[in-house]
Symmetry: C2
């Protein structure tokens, strides 16, 4: 094992350069204008997997391709591990709020700033380098390894589940490992016990057949922008509860033990508050901040657009208005059921004089970890070796919808072990990844492969 | 007089070509990128006023210039008439909803389509040609005439009132005539008895210091987009009333006679409804549609912007949200008082966890006509001659804030006589002006100058 760890220490500068190269490719999956970049990222990754010593190929889907790297040399008796990650990134806009170019990685203040540094290209690549260390310096990997990277995580992973289903024999494994999350705090690694799910939709309100002069027509004509605001305002009730009928029917009330464990974590609310620059007045009364983030559902406006939004005063009565609205779901909610409830609610509260419709965009199931003792012990030992601290159990407010799907299709438990940190500006300007965790993450994953072997 | 009317008939084709030329200049006052075009429109107009036989000059202001044309040849005993209009136009966006280019005038279906055709370049120019007819074919004008055209009507006329105040002696007159409004119906001219005022503001809501990942942070952080929707929703109460405390304190309850006269007009609600393509479910209960349009105040969302509004599902918790919100005011409201009430209301209803602020953009006083019998008789006679129908008294939902200011500063009554038609898409795509009213409008104004002489 020491050769493997020595290889990591010796290669760190090159590994970092390669991460920079990966991050320079603007693989924005949501924007067709970046389709060539997204493919370039896939091809680049395939080549690097091959250089690391895995067999690698780019496999087509109806959307962005999937990259597979495989090494089967550990033998039939050794466990098989499937690593999942994604090489696509969120759109970088608004660009003017970045302190450095989103696709020109830069170290500042012991952080690596770039779109995708944490979510997820940077973290995915740690696995590639951990595998390389074993293959080049350890005489092979202690496990059979499949690294699967998709290019559509940020747009709903629509082609991944069919792909996994079609390739379920090839992808058969004993555990799925995913590094697309954060540690609980600097120096304090964590294993995830839950992820929230997602139901993301657009609410469209339409009124007059074209934009009207707000003076000449204002009064008898119902304003779609105002109607949209009225519809959105009905989504919340008192005490921070979501006011959609039936919304909480499937929400699991966690046991006191878990809730106590969450409350016992060294979660600094003041630090969180100053980190986001806001007073934490949101969410349901009666829950702590980490509970609101991990085990309670939310309703968020992700975008609003209506009428004239440029400079100056255009007196227009807009023909239409749109809101992007998403819900974070918790066990045992499902996006399908939430969409149904939202549709029924919006239909009920739409004022006369306008019409509304709800369009589903993307969704994913919430997830609860079902770790075997062996998996938990291996991960605990590996993280302890790399970080000098045993991991805490923590939840995660974000969604990785594919986690539940992997477990369902492949029948293997998922282990979520990530190396980002809270406040990493995922999906926002100035996304970053802690510089020291490039090395510690690669080391931890190399230890983890060893422990699982 | 017959020479004057003959001149109009003979010159109509040239007059139309000149209107087209005027409309081709994209004098969008709200956009600094069009500053050169806006000046070009002013210079072009000055030249045409000179060609028509008036002395003309372009006068600087801190913003877009003011064009003045004058003819004082009627003598000290003849009345002096000030014509006011504006040579600037609204932004043409959204461009993809225009059936022809906004700045390439085109006749279709007996209509002249172009930005500014009705509001107000097309109508302003009718005065220039009516004056020309008298000057070239009538041996002079029967009145002393001042034509004043500003380039900032669509951005709040901020420099006009100081200009009028500074030049009050030069602009002294017996009446102000403005053609920037519509006739009640095709073939049925009208004199305006009221205009609504305006208070236009932006409501800004700010939450976290930057956009956040809606999964990682959603729950304890208050969403500015949702908070904005909640604030906007509080602006309306039951029965279509505006729920801002004190908002109706200054709203005049019109006498039964006026309300009956409004209800007696041949206003076709079904036609209005199908014209705008919407069910008329808005406004206060207990008022007819024209009452809602003319003598009752409104609150409109003119624009909404927050978060991610492009294609796809970006799971962002936006740092901020903005609404453009405007109020149409009626006698005896004032924009200053309404701004104060709005500010107090928004401060009161802003939820904890976000901050809000209200920015004033532009405002104007509402107006009620105070026509002398002589002015009314002259206008009635002129319109009867040109259209074969006596004018009805009608209100107007839009605002021409300068009307009250002219009356106040110059001490002369304003006569509002316009030749556009309902449904002319002012401030919207496909603005148009009725083709036949180019001729009838010029004729009516030529008769009007005669009657006032």
């Amino acid at each position: 094992m020491s050769d493997v760890q020595e290889y990591i220490g010796d290669g760190l500068e090159r590994f970092t350069e390669e991460i920079f190269e990966f991050l320079r490719i603007p693989s924005v999956s949501a924007k067709p204008a970046h389709n060539q970049d997204t493919r370039h990222a896939a091809e680049w990754l395939r080549a690097k997997l091959k250089d690391a010593g895995l067999e690698a190929e780019v496999m087509e889907t109806p959307g962005h391709p999937i990259v597979i790297g495989e090494w089967r040399g550990a033998g039939a008796d050794a466990p098989t591990i499937l690593v999942y990650g994604h090489y696509d990134v969120q759109p970088p806009e608004p660009l003017d709020l970045w302190d450095s170019s989103p696709f020109e990685p830069e170290f500042r203040d012991r952080r690596l700033y770039a779109r995708g540094s944490a979510d997820d290209k940077g973290q995915l690549y740690l696995h590639v380098k951990a595998a390389e260390a074993h293959l080049k310096a350890g005489g092979g990997l202690p496990v059979n390894l499949i690294i699967l990277a998709e290019g559509e995580e940020e747009v709903g992973s629509v082609n991944l589940v069919p792909f996994v289903e079609e390739n379920r024999n090839r992808l058969a494994c004993d555990a799925v490992i995913i590094s697309d999350t954060a540690m609980f705090a600097p120096g304090l690694p964590s294993l995830l016990f839950s992820l929230r799910g997602l139901a993301y939709c657009e609410i469209h309100v339409e009124g007059p057949s074209s934009d009207l002069h707000s003076g000449v027509y204002g009064g008898p004509v119902v304003n779609p922008g105002m109607a949209l605001a009225q519809i959105l305002a009905t989504l919340f009730a008192d005490e921070g509860r979501i006011a959609i009928e039936g919304f909480y029917d499937d929400v699991l009330d966690w046991d006191d033990e878990t809730r106590d464990a969450i409350r016992d974590l060294p979660f600094d609310e003041d630090d969180f508050s100053s980190g986001v620059g806001a007073v934490l007045a949101g969410g349901e009364r009666g829950y702590s901040v980490p509970e609101k983030l991990w085990i309670r559902p939310t309703c968020e406006v992700n975008g609003l657009l209506s009428g004239y939004t440029g400079e100056g005063a255009k007196t227009v009565l807009p023909a239409k208005a749109m809101a992007k609205v998403s819900f974070r779901l918790v066990a045992d909610q499902s996006p399908e059921r939430v969409y149904d409830l939202v549709r029924a609610h919006v239909a009920k509260v739409t004022p006369p004089g306008v019409t509304s419709r709800v369009e589903e965009l993307t969704g994913g199931m919430p997830w609860r970890a079902q770790l075997s003792d062996k998996l938990k012990a291996a991960a605990t030992s590996a993280l302890l070796k790399a970080f000098g601290a045993a991991p805490v159990l923590a939840g995660e407010g974000g969604s990785i919808p594919i986690v539940s799907d992997f477990e369902r299709v492949l029948g293997a438990p998922a282990l979520l072990v990530g190396f980002s940190l809270p406040g990493a500006n995922l999906h926002a300007p100035n996304e970053w990844f802690p510089k020291e965790n490039i090395e510690k993450g690669i080391r931890a994953l190399a230890y983890l492969y060893e422990e699982l072997g």
